[in-house]
Amino acid sequence: MDLNKQYTPRTWPDHPETATMEGKNKFVGFWLLLAAETVTFASLFATYLALKDKGPSGMELSASQLFELPLVFAMTMILLTSSLTSVYAMYHMKNHNFKAMQAWLGITVLLGATFLGLEIYEFNHYVHLGFGYTHSAFSAAFYTLVGTHGAHVLFGLCWFIALMLRNAKRGLNTYNAPKFFLVSLYWHFIDVVWVFIFTVVYLMGVIG
């Protein structure tokens, strides 16, 4: 593969992410990794449901008392929006518009970082209510499920930033297009997991 080959929107392939054999392999391999990730989160969700509201005898705190929807709703909207902006970035990637892609990726990173900041604030709030990691089986299951998602968000942010900086000066080619595509795929996955967390942990938690 020639890294110095210059593309124009006219010579740019329709599916730059799978234009090369490496790209095709990465595409299929990453979907399989997401399958494994799905099972990981399924295990965490199952454990959370089994241990919800479980603690030492006489435990006062329960999900319905603890969770409040306004902040979590804001976080959900921010993360969903960031998924949309990453779609815009991929739209421009496919049209070989590097600058627009970088701009939308930048917005995605900002939204993701905001989400992460709010999550840290939320956790901090719970800890001050006495709901620490070692508080009960419930707290362990909650923080491990939501925290694993948060760690994925952090990893995704680092990945976005590393790729944006690395390729800032050389633009798009069929070597780095699959990399951008995969990180956006990963970002969608994180978003889908959050939708389930919002439903299973927060909505079902508030209902009781």
Binding site: L3, G29, L32, A36, A46, T144
Partner: protein, 628 residues
Amino acid sequence: MSSIAQKKGFGATIWDYMTTVDHKKIAILYLISGGFFFLVGGLEAMLIRIQLMKAGNDFLSAGTYNEVMTMHGTTMIFLAAMPLLLAFMNAVMPLQIGARDVAFPFLNSLGFWLFLFGGIFLNLSWFMGGAPDAGWTNYASLAIASEGHGIDFYALGLTISGFGTLIAGINFVVTIINMRAPGMTYMRMPLFTWTTFVASVLIIFAFPPLTVGIFFMVFDRMFGANFFDVTMGGNTIIWEHLFWIFGHPEVYILVLPAFGIFSEIFAIFSRKRLFGYTALVFATILIGFYGFMVWAHHMFTVGLGPTANAVFALATMAIAVPTGIKIFNWLLTIWGGSITFTTPMIYAIAFIPSFVAGGVTGVMQAIAPLDYQLHDSYFIVAHFHYVIVGGVVLAILAGTHLYWPKMFGTMLNEKLGKWTFWFFFIGFHLTFFIQHFLGLMGMPRRVYTFVGDQGWDLYNAISSVGALFMAIGVIIMLVNVIMTTVKNERVGNDPWGDGRTLEWAIPSPPPFYNFAQTPLVRGLDSYWIEKMEGNKKGMTFAEPLGDIHMPNNSFIPVVISLGLFIASFGALYHLDGDKPWALPVLIIGLAITFISMLVRSLKDDLGFHITKAELLEDQKRGETDGSK
């Protein structure tokens, strides 16, 4: 570039293997390290049988026995059986589909090094304060109460090697989906490739639950989480579910590739097309599918209730159907064939009754009420050794003989091979057949000794003698390997004379680019078709001779794995609370891993090309030095 046939010094060879991304060399790495752990696990088995040779023996203390028993199971499953099968998958599967390498050569190397460092870490527990002692299933109720660092070695070691296995699984699936040669449709793939495919899919879905369960255990021990602490609302049954959601598919991850190896052997040495190829493929898929629906048959006595037990009992019995389909297809492949009794073939023939015996006792245990009687007795020990040794280990030994020429270019001695077989086969039945009766008489498993005069003494002594026979068989095999390597008599493309699939159409061992020209596959048993049509080249080519793109070697996989290895020591000793250096070690280790991952991501690695002229030169050399 004459690196193709260079003679290298010792140091250069080591460096070459540490940086290699060639699937054939990684296969050899898996074979050597898996073989080493097989010997370690075998030694532990011998210790167990010496201890149980007579009633009231004090050869091992109760605590040591628990460690030896735990490490025997863990080592054999995770560090011996799986890597040895991964060795054959790596060595053969890409050749069978006409590919030049796997889809992700770098990840292939990373998977191996993660497995090796995880395995070493686990085994270092022997020298660093005691091995894990809660059984290979590591049930939380036992493990949480275990003192010392044994359980931490188990948890961290298996996490590292588990990541390696997951990577290998993803890699093989992508390879089979994307890298097949022209004409190699799914229903023309050799059965070993099919079983590799299904087993790899199982790896992808089965390993994450184990990783999650292990993380819960690590968090409980490291950060004071309460997943398994009942007084804090925890629940130890969660571990059992997560472990067996992994653990049962794991059985099929092991046994499906074994089925694949035997399918190849039956076809080759009966000189017949596999009977019922399509049925065998669908039975493989069905077994993989059912494999995920039966985990709770390991937990009948937990008290999940009659409904759950009934559902899982039925699902378990259903698995006998596709397995039976396979057995009959193999029998009908042999039927009317022109059979040669080579070493791989006698292993394959011996496998059928041995594995059926294990399967039948399995269906017995699927009957939940009966399982209440059999649970935790030697009957269970006999059953799973019939399945794992009678299925998987026989396949590994058979596969070693079958594929040795393709991996190393020399042929293992047939006479010694048959000696190995008879010692191992007789020893295996001597050891484990009688354990069924010990179980029915009430001897519990995992107990370090027993009281005499209950009718158990003679049976246990016989069982121990059988273990000795197996050990002798393995020693003969080692002698065989050494003799063969010293003699170094090179063999041609198709040393068994009746090879049917693409790997036998190319030199032994193949050049590092496998196929100078990508083959065109014209049907099932591609090489056999070409042979029958008198094609001397053994292949129809899909492309003219041209430049070949190859991946670069890399040292980064070793560094990534080493980082996790170092970090694990930090995590482990951080638990003690009085070792201030532990946290920095943890952080430094993780930093090494993540920085090397970043380097890999950001540094362009485009591989290199072998030119047509070099290929021609290489082919000419192959013809003149007679290795063809």
